[in-house]
Symmetry: C2
Subunit: 275 residues, 2 copies
């Protein structure tokens, strides 16, 4: 496996970050992650736009233009073609002599195999718990996933798939790596407006859903999720993941619901035609 680091492709074992880069010393940096199908980056422009936004928010500069990154990504794929893979672009805070002042970012473009998206009749149904937490600068796709990673062993002990973040007032925001949607009375689709990362899948789900049902982007309470007919996650790796249990309480029918399946089908079609 090769990895692109700053200005060259190197074997994976040589893809490293200096010990005194702010990414290592302070968890400071940003990234983005997208899928690539048959050599085609999916929603590439959206991901590059978000990467630029995240970097600017953290006073960092992405060292290449989106076009230049596109060429790097294609070259990486040509060197190691995979039917479906994920590409991660990491921009670090850079080496810092005092371990605190922002330096010159290091750029890493790495590739990992992904399973193809499941057919819609094989969508999984997952169980989650809630956890009171609001991510630090949630609108920035930063390197900081401390609470998300920390929760992993805790969730695994209870065979839970994920943790749904909410604030002290019971207003939900997102999962550590996914946005959340719910279908409530009168077939309305709702999703939180605040304290979230602006997911690319979320964006397209909102667009596709608006063609077939009323959609609201606003504060969403835990109580609304518990009485929803459907709840689902959206993210880049799996697109849509139906949630059928929250804190041990069943959601909807206990199976992937019709709205999740319908939007998922539309997403699969959308990916075929969008570059």
């Amino acid at each position: 496996m090769e990895v692109f680091v700053n200005d060259r492709f190197v074997p994976e074992a040589e893809a490293v970050v200096p010990y005194n880069d702010l990414a290592v010393t302070r968890g400071y940096g940003v990234f983005d992650f997208f899928r690539m199908v048959d050599g085609r980056p999916i929603f590439f422009a959206d991901h590059m736009h978000r990467l630029q936004h995240s970097a600017a928010q953290l006073h960092l500069q992405v060292p290449y233009s989106a076009d230049a990154i596109y060429e790097i990504v294609l070259e990486l794929w040509k060197r190691q073609p995979m039917p479906t893979c994920g590409i991660r672009i990491t921009v670090t805070g850079g080496v810092s002599s005092d371990s605190y002042t922002i330096g010159t970012p290091n750029l890493i473009v790495s590739q990992m195999p992904l399973k193809p998206l499941l057919p819609d009749d094989e969508l999984p149904a997952v169980k989650v718990n809630t956890y009171q937490w609001i991510r630090e600068m949630a609108h920035v796709k930063s390197l900081n996933y401390m609470t998300g990673v920390w929760l992993q062993p805790v969730l695994q002990k209870e065979a839970l798939f994920d943790a749904l973040y909410h604030d002290s007032n019971g207003v939900v925001s997102e999962f550590p790596r996914s946005n959340v949607f719910a279908v409530i009375q009168h077939g309305k689709l709702i999703t939180p407006a605040r304290h979230i990362l602006q997911g690319i899948t979320r964006k397209y789900v909102l667009e596709l859903a608006a063609r077939q049902m009323p959609v609201e982007v606003r504060d969403v309470t835990l109580q609304e999720l518990l009485t929803a007919s459907e709840v689902f996650q959206t993210n880049t790796s799996r697109r849509i993941t139906p949630v059928v249990s929250i804190d041990g309480r069943p959601i909807g029918s206990g199976k992937p619901g019709p709205v999740a399946i319908s939007i998922y089908k539309n997403m699969l079609e959308k990916e075929l035609i969008t570059g």
Copy 2:
């Protein structure tokens, strides 16, 4: 400059972390930092105890005992003796195949020159602003200093030295890298009890101060600081740093106060006799 990485001393240019270590991908890991004077690690046992605590809190294991780390630190110092230096021990989340599950930690022991502590009549007097923020798992010395680093360019624009964190109720907690103390009416010394890192300097300041004045560890409000006769920071690098302005409002006499100077003197003596 040499750095110890996992099991050997390497030249600084080879002191690196894999691109897919959770420290780089998720800002996940812990560290500690102590001073070394004439080859003697200061408050070493305290720092190792805290490192073990931080690691355990993040489901990580420090790969060596405190005794073994002591030997590594001494060997590092012998290879590059410095009158005063800082030693940083970093324990990363380790390489993670799925970029999320905790791996086997990488250990880095690095050294950097430090200026000797100033004589007490040269203590600086610094100006700070407040910032509403509570650190994520503040009791853990994790790698996550995202907000602290992010604030740096913001503070520098206004020639401010640091930012004092407080919650939405005006209860102060700490600075990004320092604890906070205040001297209030009747010569009482107060310092926040919650949402803080248990500073090693804080611990000794509490111990030394208790010999000469009433001390309270409890919730402290911004209002109390603004009317205090003295406010000061404590941390490992500088020990005690008097604060003479908060949000542009003068604190105390505008100069380092007698309590800060007295405790600082006692700290300097304490360091001479403590290993």
